[in-house]
């Protein structure tokens, strides 16, 4: 006597998330140093790998779906030259990853609209960071400011990761 999972409804067709991801990655690949073909190949490999994992029914496969996409974004961003536009495109590519995750093909449609705060808040942070790099005098200074802010963010994240209940409101003291 075995217990198994019944088949779940199949995945939907491609949505706006993969379009946003493709556009952002192509834009980032176009500004990378070296061959554009290699850049586009890296972008395509990341998108295809991530999409395959995201469309699979297994929970573990879907959890690791961001890995190929993030890896491709990191490689492209690492190959990008120093400058405001490549940095903006790198941030946009990361935001596109979040938009793509919101458009999960195994969940109800319109996830990008419903999860707007999930990618809009990071978008504001990226905008602030990118604006600060433009206003500050040198690249080294902007890097220091951004690094300091990120170290603080990582520290806060590590604390919150250990205690996610801190994000919940207080419960009423009465039973």
């Amino acid at each position: 006597v075995t217990r198994s999972e019944p088949p779940s409804p199949g995945p939907r067709g491609p949505g706006p998330g993969i379009v946003a991801l493709g556009l952002a990655f192509v834009a980032l690949a176009l500004v990378t140093e070296g061959s554009i073909v290699v850049g586009l190949g890296i972008a395509a490999a990341g998108i295809v790998g991530g999409t395959i994992l995201l469309r699979r029914p297994g929970r573990s496969a879907r959890a690791t779906a961001p890995l190929p996409v993030v890896a491709a974004a990191a490689v492209l961003a690492g190959r990008a030259p120093l400058g405001a536009i490549p940095e903006l495109l790198a941030g946009t590519a990361a935001l596109a990853v979040l938009v793509w995750l919101s458009d999960d093909p195994r969940r109800p449609p319109a996830g990008v609209r419903r999860g707007v705060w999930g990618w809009l808040i990071p978008a504001v942070a990226v905008a602030i960071a990118w604006t600060s790099t433009g206003l500050l005098p040198s690249d080294a200074a902007s890097l220091g400011v951004a690094a300091g802010a990120l170290v603080a963010a990582v520290g806060a994240l590590a604390y919150l990761s250990a205690r996610p209940e801190l994000l919940e409101p207080d419960r009423a003291p009465t039973l």
């Binding site: 006597v1 217990r3 999972e5 019944p6 088949p7 779940s8 409804p9 929970r59 573990s60 879907r62 959890a63 690791t64 779906a65 961001p66 890995l67 993030v70 990191a74 961003a77 690492g78 990008a80 903006l88 790198a90 941030g91 990361a94 990853v97 979040l98 995750l101 919101s102 458009d103 969940r107 109800p108 319109a110 996830g111 419903r114 999860g115 705060w117 999930g118 990618w119 809009l120 808040i121 990071p122 990226v126 960071a129 990118w130 790099t133 690249d139 890097l143 951004a146 690094a147 990120l150 170290v151 990582v154 994240l157 919150l160 990761s161 996610p164 209940e165 994000l167 919940e168 409101p169």
Partner: protein, 432 residues
């Protein structure tokens, strides 16, 4: 003074594995960006680090409460579970993830249909029963999850229990069998219950699904509306159903499958006899005997069902005589006894012999461990092995016939031979 009741203060908001992946990736990119002085990596890592936090901020502030209403539909082997989850605002039904578990003994027939409307989620699951069964359906697991799948929150609410019952159709007629009486002068004690058979009691308006045989056509013609007869029901007698839950040489997997089938058969037969106002008892013999004494009525039906559904395959083998001795503590001798056993081992046949010697007239319903053989499905050595296995089973059943009447339950969706055998008088018992 009693201690205050414990309150569940466990956090219900949790990161998903995907959020951990994003956080780890973001932290790694941050480190790489600092080491290699690459601001592009920092810009990639920053949104990944912030996304789980942003998802937590937009999660519902408390655990959403979603109530479930569901039912089982379909006939025969088809099992359709239809239900609805009522989702109160402001929770969006699209953010709720619903996952179903397939109970043992059922297999999917088609993909589930899940429709999300404002304020509710409707679902229809298409399953198929492999064999007759009685099995509880686990309630669906419902969690709130943000669209990016980074944070999830527990969902509470009412989850009423649900059971799937599928019996062979002939089991409905099993209760009409005349049973042996074990109480003094049973005909002198009239039941107050009204039912479908017995002495005529009176007339009443017919129900919409009233069987035609129960309609009083003359009275209906006179009144101009359907009128049915009511009868004062006689209790027909007593019956004990013994389920053999001991391990056999077939192995735990086959034993569990046969026990599930035995439990389903016992449930169906017990309900059929209870419907006819007979007194029914149940005994489950694993390592020891678990018995529900003879009784009738709605509450007794629940007692029997609970006992049968709690039946588990014993891990230790028990001698057959233990069952026969324990049976006399709970049931009077002479009560009609139905033993449901696979008869896979010689000791199963001994159980029948011991029960008979202790005064229980036994009829055996033996679920066959051999799968049904479609014509032309096997060839060569496999066919030879199958034929030998069937011959060996026939020999075992023939040996059991020396002690009691036996029905080989090989077609699991039919109990017609069993009902026909019960209807026939037990000549051997009369001679004895």
């Amino acid at each position: 003074m009693s201690a205050p009741a414990a309150v569940d203060i466990a956090p219900s908001l949790a990161w998903t594995p995907r959020a951990v992946v994003l956080l780890a990736s973001g932290a790694a990119l941050l480190g790489l960006g600092l080491v290699f002085l690459a601001p592009g990596l920092l810009f990639v890592g920053l949104p990944l680090l912030l996304a789980p936090i942003a998802a937590s901020l937009v999660a519902p502030s408390t655990d959403p409460s979603v109530d479930l209403t569901w039912a089982v539909e379909g006939i025969g082997r088809d099992v359709d579970v239809v239900g609805e989850l009522r989702v109160p605002p402001p929770v969006d039904p699209a953010d709720l993830e619903v996952a179903f578990s397939l109970p043992p003994g059922l297999r999917p027939r088609d993909r589930p249909a899940i429709e999300r409307d404002p304020g509710r989620i409707r679902f229809r699951l298409h399953w198929e029963a492999v064999d007759p069964l009685v099995v509880p359906v686990p309630p669906p697991r419902v969690v709130w999850r943000d669209p990016a799948g980074l944070v999830e929150r527990r969902v509470t609410g009412e989850r009423p229990p649900l059971e799937v019952e599928r019996y062979p159709p002939e089991v409905l007629r099993a209760g009409a069998v005349r049973l042996e009486r074990t109480i003094a002068l049973p005909g002198e004690v009239r039941s107050r219950s009204l039912g479908p058979s017995g002495e005529f009691f009176g007339l009443r308006d017919a129900a919409p699904a009233e069987p035609p045989r129960r309609l009083n056509w003359i009275a209906s013609a006179r009144a101009g509306r359907p009128i049915a007869n009511d009868y004062r029901v006689d209790r027909t007698g007593d019956v004990v159903i013994v389920v053999d839950a001991r391990p056999t040489s077939l192995g735990p997997r086959a034993d569990a499958s046969l026990l599930a089938l035995s439990v389903a058969g016992a449930c169906g037969i017990a309900e059929s006899f209870l419907r006819e106002r007979a007194r029914v008892g149940v005994a489950i013999f694993g390592e020891f005997l678990d018995a529900v004494p003879l009784g009738s009525g709605r509450a007794h039906r629940l007692r029997l069902r609970s006992a049968l559904l709690a039946a588990r395959l014993a891990t230790e083998f028990a001698p057959a005589e233990r069952c026969a001795i324990a049976m006399r503590r709970y049931f009077p001798p002479g009560v009609t006894t139905l033993v449901i056993s696979s008869l896979a081992d010689p000791d199963s046949i001994e159980l029948v012999a011991f029960l008979r010697r202790r005064g229980f007239p036994v009829t055996v319903l033996s679920p066959s461990p051999l799968p049904p053989r479609p014509p032309g499905a096997m060839a060569g050595p496999a066919e030879l092995a199958d034929r030998i296995a069937r011959l060996a089973r026939r020999v075992r059943i023939a040996r059991a016939w020396q002690e009691a009447r036996v029905v080989d339950w090989d077609d699991r969706w039919s109990l017609a031979p069993f009902v026909a055998l019960l209807r026939r008088p037990d000549d051997r018992r009369r001679i004895a």
